[in-house]
Symmetry: C2
Subunit: 313 residues, 2 copies
């Protein structure tokens, strides 16, 4: 099998070069890869070069990898010719299941044996998309967040016919390429971050519909409230601190009953001993020896840094 | 009526000086107020002075108001003697309804006529808490986020017997004192930010319970994903950008059907024309003339600033 080791990838093929695909192109160029881009739109190359040029100052400011250059981008109007050069393929076509099923099969037919094909999809599981491929074992979801050239998160998950090796390879490759990788054990609609974001978004829509808050109030409540902590300390560790010295254990044992209060339209799961322990143990693992006092000090430094970075202090 | 103008407040009484009340004490001292604190715990004064001393370096770094000093704090073990000095009272007792009903009545009895009494409660509406007061018209919820000395958000809302004047006064006072104020028109359980936070938290608990994601993955998905944007651009304006040049209108018109997808356990409201327009108009108001390109540039600058501020770039 001709799959290169993750550290030996030189040429990344980006199939679909809209906002997400173009963001990937910019990112891979900045990390020093050679990128071959394909897009079926008549003005695809023009739009892509505009997007990359717009992102480049930010990427330069953040620091380019050795040898990184916009000159390492080539546009190839023939999908098969593009894929033939790939050490790795990132597909970012529109969210249309039939289109993706067909496109992935075309990519699969033209890409060297073993080379991993990753999809940016947010809406589908790979199980739904890979069934027309001759080699579905090397097709994986690698779901980024917009803009992919700045937001580190990539969620990696295989489909029913994906080999565990391909999933592992993809996670390793994205990690080497500088991304923050969540490797999911199984497909869940929306993956992780979008599920959390979607719950918040739906609650916000309910509030607007019921006249409970305006759009501006909803945004202010996040940017000037919990959003200041979430940029560096996630919602679980944030609540670990809300429990005082007793941490998440105290939080759940004392405020668990508030899960029954009508603070959102989303019904909470029953707080079983098992769920309680899973959350408490997870926070302890994540704290990794840091005391509550350590974490409070980190939180305060982080909030101050962010207030300053965003011009509010 | 002896209610001072918001800009004439000199002495703030903080009734209850635990983590939240103590955070308020530190904040008001840093803003140059004289603070009289009361707490019934035997070691209340000691714990409070410890908390204020711990917060003071951060507050100093952020910049103290003229005349601000820890020496402007006095501890008064007699609640009535404390309240008698108040130009404004902030109550931060434990979340126990009977305790708060009684305490607010005691504060009301001892506080000069007209002076506003604000409660830090997260769990109750003022309508439930104010009924034992002789002057419930001046009792208001002023709900902060932890830690109150750093997080700007305060949600202000009155109860059934609160006068609109008192609500307005409280919003004006907190704004003058440097807070970001959301003035709610009516009581909703959890107010605004906690409802959004709670929807996300419950979805996270479901994911842990179902083995869909670990605690660490949930936190990483936020800190390295949408959390990077939410520190300066709320969830609504974030989705305004997700719609490309068409903004929120394009987003809702094209991705509205995804509200029916099982991306969270929270059912979405029906996307009526009215709701669609309310959200689109809200985003336009909030954008205040900034084009999508302007907002994209702001987002990128913000994400880079936050990646740097938190040591990730």
């Amino acid at each position: 099998m001709s799959r290169p080791a993750p550290q030996d990838v030189r040429t990344v093929v980006c199939a679909g070069a809209g906002v997400i695909g173009g963001g990937w192109v910019a990112y891979f160029l900045a990390r020093g890869y050679r990128v071959v881009a394909w897009d079926p739109a008549p003005d695809g190359e023009q739009r892509l070069r505009h997007l990359v040029a717009a992102a480049w100052p930010a990427l330069t400011e953040l620091g380019l990898a050795e040898g990184a250059s916009i000159d390492n981008l080539s546009f190839e109007p023939d999908l098969a010719k593009a894929c033939a050069q790939a050490d790795f393929v990132q597909e970012s076509a529109p969210e249309d299941l039939e289109l993706k099923r067909t496109l992935l099969a075309d990519i699969d037919a033209a890409t060297p044996e073993g080379v991993v094909i990753s999809s940016s999809t947010s809406g589908y599981g790979m199980s739904e998309m890979q069934d027309k491929c001759t080699h579905p074992d090397r097709t994986v979801v690698g779901h980024p967040f917009n803009p992919p050239y700045l937001i580190p998160l990539v969620e990696v998950v295989g489909g029913a016919s994906t080999s565990p090796d391909a999933v592992q390879w993809t996670a390793d490759f994205f990690t080497l390429a500088g991304k923050s990788v969540i490797r999911m054990e199984r497909e869940v609609p929306g993956f992780v971050a979008n599920r959390l974001q979607e719950a918040l978004w739906r609650e916000a829509l309910h509030m607007v519909e019921n006249g409970e808050a305006t759009v501006e109030e909803i945004d202010l409540s996040i940017t000037d409230g919990p959003g200041l902590r979430w940029a560096f300390m996630g919602p679980m560790l944030t609540f670990h601190l809300a429990g005082g010295q007793g941490g998440m254990a105290h939080m759940l044992d004392h405020f668990g009953p508030s899960l029954l209060s009508p603070w959102t339209r989303l019904e909470a799961p029953e707080l079983t001993q098992e769920l309680r322990d899973a959350v408490v143990d997870g926070c302890e693992r994540e704290a990794a020896g840091r005391t509550i006092d350590d974490l409070v000090a980190e939180r305060d430094r982080g909030v101050i840094a962010i207030l300053r970075a965003t011009g509010r202090a």
